[in-house]
Symmetry: C2
Subunit: 382 residues, 2 copies
């Protein structure tokens, strides 16, 4: 133990200070490879510009004002999506002026907050219920604001959303006739297809969603209702929706970071989707090597979500993360290569709920801490 | 939507205000049934007093200064356990004066912080490595403090800890000979046995751990080293360790809350362990009923850990939580009983990592909010 390692700046849950070398960053913490992150942002921008569709980047992935602003300022995003009113409130407070809550807002208190936000920013929200349309209209009229509403159709995810076709038309007509509301288009996100491994199976599910969106858009048009926005798509499928001629606004989120589960999603050649690079890692230390053949690291369930599988140790095939408990990870280390305080990069199994566990992103470039970004909307679940 | 529901106090991530009715508490949020919680605390106190062993309650479960203080002031706890230095720092700042980090602390910066804490509180820590003992001794001597060290033995969990017997003796002798350190005893926690469903299988694993602890204590005593503390046990096994005559300090954590997975642990009659009651719930609202036979609630992966299974809907066998995504839960509702904004109590699958996702506990008694306790050490993973 050396004096220079006793960094008095770092304390409680602050894992690093700017200028520090990566090797000094406290663990477990969430680090971003800034070069990889920026390349991902630039790549999706180019891809969507080539398709001629908009990006409304999903902030549910990162919950960071800094990253949302970067996506708007450098990544070609016309605005952002959020999943929760509180998440959107943080983003608007942080200077984002165009926010879609890509979800239902049905609680009276949250509707009032959504309407209040519409006095300060462009606010869009999804609906799938007639009473909810009435409640949104009441709140908007009371505050004299305008809320843009998208009808959410269930195009296969089995979650929220009305059936495509006639039920969507009825709701769109109700919105169009409601004071304080503006009909903005369709939300048609096939969330259940994003992580389907096999290319053809994934394409087939998205093709079905596209046809449901297409026929609903046509039905609405035949009834005099134009969809300014036809929204959906994620990092695992956007190239289908963007090429459809129907969708015009992509809601990709994970593309900035990627994760171990997305790496198991295959492209049309049967290889892993590799256009985006892993830029997000859990930085972890070895804390016990008391037993041969294994090492214990300090990254467990409280710094990562294992709902989509265990993390993958980045660029190491000689060791494997094999078990996870609250504060520990067990690493198989058959050649006993790991020593106390050795550090590893873990690719989290699922990026979104992992980020929501952390207070800070530690941005790394050229092996040094370049920035500390707060996870501004961490825990904003209301 | 009614005016009186527009609660201006509640905002961002604050789900409630004191005096509010439960039905008004914003969702998704973490609520505590205070009567059930207090009964659990009182019950374990009585049980351990009857066994004549101490309780050192594990704060990793709740990460709350308020709850830790309650356990010390009303629950018979001699002190608390933490798993992380940052967690312990919060507890000491909050007035807890006797803290064991029931884990290895090997990072130089964290060792320095642990030593600094020992100037303000009784500090104990677990070790399983000779170099670590040297580093702890250096840090303690530098600051002129005393750190009490327990030798952790691996009694079957396969995580940290040296082998019982001779390796434990060697480490204990090293601690005993190290300036600034005091040998305090053994840490012998069989974490892998806590959730074994079947009583006899669980007992057999704990019996093996007890024998390893017993023989190691004897070996140490034969070499002139007394174990002031023989620590371990959790809510699923404490009655074995407490009756052993070897263990004298129990580290139960989950007993205050319980969870769906602990409910699947069986007692010797083959029934679920029922001595402790569920006191912790995720309070959730129905946000979409657009499809027959199912409803969507607002509690997904970002407000609960599903590592040990999906949540159970409390005292409802007519509906079932069947699927979980980032911000949504899918509820099978075959009789279409659920309506928008209906609220439900979910028993989380695994309490510890679920609590770590929240900023507030909303304490409920007689259907009203009695207190709001911050999850003071939430996210303290360093």
């Amino acid at each position: 133990m050396t004096e220079e390692n006793d960094n008095p700046v770092v304390g409680l849950n602050i894992p690093a200070s700017i200028g520090m070398e990566l090797s000094e960053v406290c663990t477990p913490s969430l680090i971003i490879d800034l070069d990889a992150f920026e390349a991902n942002v630039a790549l999706l921008r180019r891809r969507l510009e080539a398709f001629g569709v908009r990006l409304r980047a999903h902030a549910k992935t990162h919950k960071s004002v800094d990253i949302a602003r970067y996506q708007v300022e450098h990544g070609g995003a016309c605005g952002i999506c959020c999943q929760k009113v509180s998440e959107a409130e943080v983003m608007v407070a942080g200077g984002i002026t165009d926010v879609m809550v890509s979800n239902q807002v049905v609680d009276p208190g949250k509707i009032a907050r959504l309407a209040a936000m519409a006095a300060r920013a462009r606010v869009l929200v999804c609906v799938d219920d007639r009473q909810n349309v009435e409640d949104l209209s009441s709140a908007a009229r009371r505050l004299g604001v305008n809320i843009e509403c998208l009808v959410e159709i269930d195009c296969g995810a089995g979650r929220c959303g009305v059936e495509p076709g006639a039920p969507a038309l009825a709701l769109a007509q109700q919105i169009d006739a409601s004071a304080g509301l503006e009909f903005a288009g369709l939300q048609a996100y096939q969330g259940a297809a994003q992580h389907i491994r096999e290319f053809a199976a994934r394409k087939s599910r998205i093709d079905a969603a596209i046809e449901q969106a297409r026929s609903t858009v046509s039905l609405l048009a035949a009834n005099g209702l134009q969809c300014e926005i036809v929204a959906g798509a994620g990092s695992g499928s956007y190239y289908f929706e963007a090429a459809s001629g129907v969708y015009n606004e992509m809601q990709c989120g994970s593309y900035i970071f990627m994760d171990a589960d997305y790496q198991r999603v295959l492209d049309d050649s049967g290889a892993g989707i590799s256009e985006f690079n892993n830029s997000l890692f859990i930085w972890t230390s070895i804390m016990s090597t008391a037993k041969p053949g294994r090492a214990i690291c300090d990254a467990g369930l409280k710094v990562q979500s294992v709902d989509s599988g265990l993390p993958v140790i980045y660029r190491r095939d000689d060791i494997e993360y094999i078990n996870c408990s609250d504060e520990h990870g067990v690493i198989a280390d058959p050649h006993d290569r790991l020593a106390l305080n050795d550090k590893l990069k873990l690719v989290p199994g699922h990026c979104d709920p992992t980020c929501n566990l952390h207070d800070w992103y530690v941005g790394i470039r050229d092996n040094r801490v370049e920035c500390l970004w707060p996870v501004s909307a961490r825990g904003m679940a209301l």
